[in-house]
């Protein structure tokens, strides 16, 4: 420790630089963080800023021309609506269903088997799931055959909105489930025990004890899940109708970059995309504060 040095130095002398830095916990060890920081700044922060600036340097027109073009061309701005129409239900379904399932599973003894199986869709990734669904949900696939077997009509599940929605839920639910599970198992079980000795039924325990304590975790779950589904890309192209109902904003960005070679426009679209995601995240987090305080706050000002 360098304390004794600091104490012994007379007020008129300056401490050597190394010692002064050490007081702020900056030394050789701290500098180990620098390469990684430089890397992230160079390859994440800089491209972001670069893209932001680039979006205001369109190929033709005023500095806002890209954004103006985006919001005046239905072919472009409709993508926002199409993406929301996919992302919001997919997120809500994945997160809402994860709660009762996690509640059930948390006391399972062989939980690890289930979590392993559920990790498989995540590991396989969206491209493979899209390819698999093309076969499995196709008009000749097993799913429709089973429906026919039970006397139902065949359903059109691929190259449309439904297919993409299903693939989003298939790849999204494992994420939300595992996250919710980790939050639920983090709640002290003696809290529920205490509540039950005080007369709370299972339902009362859920709404009065568990949900308020889960509120923050669920909000984060919603944010992360939404952000992920909003960036849907390969499944929208392979499994959906990329020229129609599932023309999502990432497709517009891709086309601008790789088909029209307009990187300025592509950056603008990427910025718009990021902005939409940020907006929804802020909305969720503010809403949570409002709801949470309501649940916990009667009696407080």
């Amino acid at each position: 420790m360098t304390d004794h040095v600091a104490g012994a130095a007379p007020a008129s002398e300056r401490l050597p630089l190394r010692v002064r830095l050490a007081l702020y916990e900056i030394d050789a060890v701290t500098l180990l963080v620098v390469p990684a920081v430089l890397f992230v700044v160079a390859l994440f922060v800089y491209p972001f800023v670069y893209g932001f600036v680039l979006s205001f340097q369109p190929k033709a027109g005023a500095w806002f021309a890209n954004y103006a073009r985006f919001f005046s061309d239905p072919f472009l701005y409709d993508t926002i609506g199409a993406t929301f129409r996919l992302a919001i239900p997919a997120t809500l379904i994945s997160v809402v269903i994860s709660v009762p399932v996690a509640m059930r599973v948390r006391r399972m003894r062989h939980r690890r088997v289930l979590t392993t199986v559920l990790v498989i869709p995540i590991t396989l990734g969206t491209v493979l799931i899209a390819e698999g669904l093309l076969t499995y949900l196709g008009p000749q696939g097993w799913f429709n055959r089973t429906l026919v077997l039970f006397g139902f009509e065949k359903v059109r599940l691929i190259h449309n909105y439904t297919g993409v929605m299903l693939s989003l839920i298939l790849s999204g639910f494992p994420f939300t489930f595992l996250l919710t599970l980790s939050y639920i198992t983090g709640i002290d079980p003696s809290l529920e025990q205490a509540a039950s000795t005080l007369g709370a039924t299972a339902r009362a325990r859920f709404w009065h004890i568990l949900m308020p304590l889960l509120a923050q975790g669920l909000a984060i779950n919603l944010c992360l899940s939404f952000v992920q589904t909003f960036s849907v890309f390969p499944s929208a192209v392979l499994l959906g109708a990329p020229a129609g109902a599932t023309r999502v904003i990432s497709i517009a960005a891709y086309q601008a970059a790789y088909e029209q070679y307009d990187s300025s426009m592509a950056s603008a679209i990427a910025m718009i995309m990021g902005f939409c995601q940020l907006l929804v995240v802020l909305l969720i987090l503010t809403a949570r504060k409002f709801v949470y305080r309501g649940a916990a706050g009667s009696g407080k000002g």
Binding site: L191, T197, G199, G299
Partner: protein
Amino acid sequence: MTIAARDFRELRLEGISRRFGNVNALRDVNLAVRRGEFIALLGPSGCGKSTALNCLAGLLTLTSGGIWLDSARIDRLKPEERGFGMVFQNYALFPHMSVRRNVGFGLTMRGVAKAEIERKVGEALSIVRLGEQGDKLPGQLSGGQQQRVAIARAIVIEPPLVLMDEPLSNLDAKLRLEMRAEIRRIHELIGSATIYVTHDQEEALSLADRIVVMRDGVVRQVGTPLELYAQPAYSDVAEFMGYRNLIRSSLSAAGSISIGGGAIQGTPIRPLSGGADVVVAVRPDDLRAASDGPLAITVESAQYHGRDFYCSGRTADATELYFVSAHQVQKGETVRLAADPTRVLIYPGTPS
């Protein structure tokens, strides 16, 4: 005071058992508790005391046996239907609710009117002396304060029975002593029956009307603190109650026990014949230094405890004895010990 425990005559545990896989955590436990009694379940870890408490609360089901409150059988009821108050070892206060809402939770669950809840909560908080902390969150309170909130929460619902699971074990020594007195005071004030789980014999002795000593899932002895202190029924109970010296020996025809070349007299707990193998139990403070004492030992260690010296030594035949000395003794010194026969308990020993 309008907070008073609900009346009942008797709580009966009949033959209750609880098994976990192959392990018998509780075996055929019987107990009757009357209104107003303070019962301590005492024993080392794994003896089944917490299991018994959880079965009483309904947090665990019985594998056999039954629990009756007067004439109503309650062991089939869920915890939320039993109406007992419970204080947990880690307090289990709801972190997202203020003290007031925590304490009032049981009343809210019962659909009591808001005004009534406020009144009762205020009373409960003043009983535990936490009147001004009502709007704080549990995270803002100290350990002792949190424990008081947990107690208030349990008593405000005016239960016939209050269950306490080692409530003081997370507090520091000084606080523990204070809270002990508080718990007894509150118990007497509201007049409920209290069942208190602890592994600390001092706590049990100072708080309980009756103590239930348990080991390996069975009840070894039930008695008042005085009975258990002076007359533990078995050598393992004696060991738990502080009889630190447990010596294997045999009873001579004349009724004396030979230890390390000397002979002392004792009191058999049950009639024993001469020549029987015995276990002799003596408290360290009952083995006193006496210049003409029958036992000779060589001192091995001496720890100053402020008033006396707590020492250990060995007899000629290498039996280790713990004793107390008012004066300082040196390592290697030879000391003679004597004991009052009424304080030396003799138990049947198993042949080694």
